[in-house]
């Protein structure tokens, strides 16, 4: 049976390094390639959709409009009208994660978001944005985020401390959730698909038995498509919720 982890291996796509930063040689890897692909396809979709703006949208324009509406509604419902300042940020994150997830489902492709380096980088970006904007906008009032109202004074230090830990754990849960979902999904898919070939090697009885895992693989692929979308949505909505904390601390 094939190693189900093998699909996550990072490989260099060419022999000689592109360039060097210090002593570090920079290669184009399969991960980088699919990141470029995700960004490129997003740009292509958006540019293609907005180049010919018609009153009755064509298919591409429809997709672009739906994704705009979707992200805009998400931001408005969680962070309010003020949150729309962050629309470009949230929209880029959402589209990047969505395209990376969906591209990863194509056979022989590479799931970029199955690496925690990528998701952690995105989550830390959100975290730093929240910190910087929170302190810039609210000054020291931002610290009210850690002081819930209506707490007796003798227990307050402990609560503040726990709130602080809870705040620090955000980038971790934010990144681990996306990474774990994609990783677990791809491994499950690979294992079930591996059963098909294993059973297929057993002759006629095996062939009949292989129908079951094959059906499951098809069902799982559909499920993974749902997860790919859902996780991009969850990533975006959590970003909105954290940004909401930066805009309105103190509750």
């Amino acid at each position: 049976m094939d190693d189900p982890i093998h699909q996550f291996e990072i490989t260099k796509l060419h022999e000689h390094p592109l360039f060097k930063i210090g002593a570090q040689e920079i290669y184009l890897t399969n991960s980088a390639l699919f990141m470029f692909l995700a960004v490129g396809l997003t740009m292509l979709l958006m540019l293609g959709a907005t180049s010919r703006r018609s009153l009755v949208p064509g298919p591409f324009q429809s997709i672009a409009e739906i994704s705009y509406e979707f992200v805009a509604n998400t931001i408005r419902s969680t962070a309010g009208e003020e949150g729309m300042k962050f629309f470009p940020f949230v929209f880029s994150l959402f589209m990047f994660v969505l395209f990376a997830n969906v591209l990863g489902l194509v056979p022989y492709s590479f799931a970029v978001t199955s690496h925690i380096v990528i998701t952690a980088a995105l989550a830390i970006m959100v975290f730093v944005t929240v910190l910087v904007y929170g302190f810039w906008k609210n000054g020291l009032h931002f610290l009210k985020l850690f002081v819930p109202s209506g707490i007796p004074i003798y227990i307050l230090p402990l609560i503040v401390f726990i709130e602080l830990l809870s705040f620090l754990s955000r980038p971790i849960s934010h990144s681990v959730r996306l990474f774990a979902n994609i990783l677990a999904g791809h491994i499950t898919l690979k294992v079930f698909a591996g059963f098909v070939t294993m059973l297929g090697g057993l002759g006629l009885v095996g062939w009949l038995g292989a129908v079951l895992p094959l059906g499951l693989t098809v069902a799982l692929t559909a499920l993974e498509l749902l997860v790919a979308f859902l996780q991009a949505y969850v990533f975006a909505i959590l970003t909105c919720i954290y940004i909401n904390d930066a805009i309105h601390p103190g509750h």
Partner: protein, 117 residues
């Protein structure tokens, strides 16, 4: 629909353009109501194994994240201040509390905002 009254207010000639603008207005009105229905359509998938798995991973990652932060902070404190093993012990417990707090908050958020995955 409610736009019957508006149609009656229009000038009597039923040209294509009048009909079109009436339809556009009706579409606008429906779009104004749309966000709620759109969200329920795309945001909350039918309760299947998928959303259950997503929900489980979501809540468990909240808990684990709290503990991990506690471990990292406690370890760092022990390393730099030399309070081993008390920093780790205290911070893991606090991290666990923070993790539980995360889970409660996430679950409460899910409940208040409908059945959001």
């Amino acid at each position: 629909m409610a736009d019957d009254a508006q149609d009656a207010g229009d000038p009597g000639d039923r040209t294509d353009e009048a009909a079109l603008s009436a339809r556009l207005r009706r579409l606008d009105k429906q779009l104004g109501r749309n966000p709620a229905s759109q969200k329920s359509e795309t945001g909350a998938p039918p309760t299947s194994a998928g959303s259950g798995l997503a929900r489980g991973l979501r809540l468990s990652s909240e808990l684990v994240a709290g503990v991990v932060v506690g471990v990292i902070l406690g370890w760092a404190l022990d390393h730099w201040v030399g309070t081993s093993p008390w920093g780790l012990i205290v911070f893991v417990l606090l991290g666990f509390v923070a993790g539980v707090r995360n889970v409660i908050r996430a679950a409460a958020m899910e409940n208040t905002s409908g059945s959001r995955g």
